[in-house]
């Protein structure tokens, strides 16, 4: 049996290894090593926990069985999941962290002796506060992530669900959660504990339903952050350093990602969280819907334009993920490169449904990461490029964001696609994007619309090159 001091030191080591795991992600070269540090930290934490309990009775076998079941399911999912389904997977994983936090809190509440927290009905006040915060945040993470998962998976409509009195209702539930925590701590009543959990599940659900599909990058990052804070809350309860460090890391990581995503849309965090974006704007766009002329072309025209170009910039978006067009795109680019055409990729921070979504898909299609650029890095290059190939992106290319202060997306950083000599825009129809506003780019003199499925169009262009 390991002494408490020694195990605390091992927990500290595993916490440090987790920091190094995140540090590794600063560049693709060091990232694999970082992941290895993470795995090592986890092995240390689990081994130390077993050794510090030192009770190798039949309970140990059961623990191993449950560990193995979970491990097998996890490994199976990790190998089977297609890269396009990554946002759903991450949302699903967040929900599991949340639920695990809730269950650990319940176990600690029912059997506080096991955690040295006092006895049932007489739990140390500090531990009870930490436990109930951990449980509440965990429950919010769980139900919120489930909704995010359903929306991303398409089981639930991605459009915002709003109803009258939504914000007051949410406010009432949030306030009652604080009151419940206070009452729980003064009475130790288990009924209040269950009500607290139920209220937290409910608010998680209500907070996410009004948020629309394209705001999912913010939602996923936010839930990522919550899962960290839940873990930290439990870490305080269990007086476990590894858990406190990890919770803080994950919590701040998710918060930073949410901030980056909000900045990418030029919207405040509260604006996103209050939801309903995209629904109200539709009426505005219908008013000024005069028919404007659009030039449309076919794969042949597109191939001709690109063949005569010397540099091409590709702008991928969520549509590419939906059409699974990343491999076809890479083949097209290979052909272009054979003709000595310079090709680079421009990624908007909120392209796709989660931070870094497009980068992973391009990496999957064997696109070298040093050909892929972020908005700030590449935005000046559009003016010198011959062709911009927009595939599955829409709002992030809309010049209206720079010109029209009335527009709901005014001020959002956009890719300066229109500065290219010509723009090829692959899209299924002229329908407006998520923000519900018309894209001025469609009607520009130098824009050629390619109305087709992204994957099919890309393949056709390759044939014509």
């Amino acid at each position: 049996m390991l002494s408490a001091n020694l195990s605390a030191i091992f927990y500290l080591i595993s916490g440090i290894l987790f920091i190094l795991a995140l540090r590794g992600l600063s560049s693709p070269e060091t990232s694999r090593q970082g992941n290895f540090f993470g795995i090592l930290g986890m092995i240390i934490a689990i081994t130390v926990t077993f050794l510090s309990i030192g009770n190798f009775s039949n309970g140990f076998i059961v623990v191993l069985i449950f560990l193995l079941i979970g491990g097998l399911i996890g490994a199976f999912i990790a190998y089977k999941i297609p890269m396009t389904a990554m946002p759903e997977l991450v949302a699903g994983f967040h929900s599991l962290v949340g639920l695990a936090a809730v269950f650990v809190a319940i176990a600690a509440f029912l059997n506080p002796d096991a955690f040295n927290l006092g006895s049932p009905g007489n739990i140390k006040l500090g531990s009870l506060i930490e436990m109930s915060i951990g449980a509440a945040v965990g429950a919010i993470t769980f139900s919120g992530s489930i909704i995010a998962f359903l929306k991303l998976q398409g089981i639930m409509s991605g459009s915002p669900i709003t109803f009258k009195g939504q914000h007051p209702l949410n406010a009432i539930i949030l306030i009652s959660i604080f009151i419940l925590i206070y009452l729980l701590c003064s009475t130790q009543s288990s009924n209040l504990f269950w009500i607290l959990l139920a209220a937290s599940f409910l608010i998680g659900f209500l907070l996410i339903i009004p948020i629309g599909g394209a705001d999912m990058p913010v939602v996923i990052s936010m839930l990522n952050s919550y899962s960290g804070w839940a873990a930290a809350g439990i870490g305080f309860t269990l007086e476990n350093t590894a858990l406190i460090i990890t919770g803080a890391l994950v919590g701040s990581s998710g918060a930073i990602l949410s901030y980056i995503m909000c900045k990418g849309m030029n919207r405040s965090f509260f604006n996103v969280i209050l939801g309903g974006f995209g629904g109200t704007e539709q009426t505005a766009s219908k008013q000024n819907k005069e028919q404007r002329p659009v030039k449309s072309g076919n794969a042949d025209d597109a191939a001709f334009l690109m063949k005569n170009a010397s540099s091409v910039i590709i702008v991928p978006g969520y549509g590419m993920a939906v059409a699974q067009a990343q491999h076809a795109l890479r083949e097209m680019v290979d052909t272009l490169k054979k003709n000595d055409i310079k090709v680079s990729y421009a990624i908007h921070p909120v392209a796709g449904r989660m931070p870094g979504h497009m980068n992973v898909l391009l990496a999957e299609a064997n696109v070298p990461y040093d050909e892929v650029f972020e908005l700030e890095e590449i935005n000046n290059d559009f003016a010198n490029a011959d062709v911009a190939f927009v595939i599955g992106a829409n709002d992030v290319t809309n010049p209206v964001a720079k010109t029209d202060p009335q527009s709901p997306i005014y001020g959002m950083p956009v890719l300066d696609v229109e500065k290219c000599k010509s723009v090829l825009f692959v899209k299924r129809s002229l329908s407006p994007g998520y923000a519900g506003i018309d894209n001025d780019l469609f009607y520009k003199e130098n824009t050629l619309m390619l109305f087709a499925d992204a994957k099919k169009m890309t393949e056709d262009i390759t044939k014509n090159l």
Partner: protein, 102 residues
Amino acid sequence: MEIDPFIFRLSIFILSIFIGYYVVWSVTPSLHTPLMSVTNAISSVIIVGAIIAGLAGNSDSIFNTSSIFGFVAISLAAINIFGGFLVTQRMLAMYKKKKKDK
């Protein structure tokens, strides 16, 4: 006056938030998806709490309400740990540099 151990834990917590802040800002944007999946995996270190809960049943009965919650939490966290690290590994293996020979 002795300092409450809680204060030490709070110090660790707050310093870790700062570490997290600086470390995450240095993560390259192209690796933001692996960042999310790996943070998922590491936050499942909550499994240590689940293991303690699972092993807390006395020797005559391994299963009581508390330990059952512990056991289920072990499985949930294990899905995340294995799934999170492996899927991160899979993603990171795809990030390749341009071939130099061409």
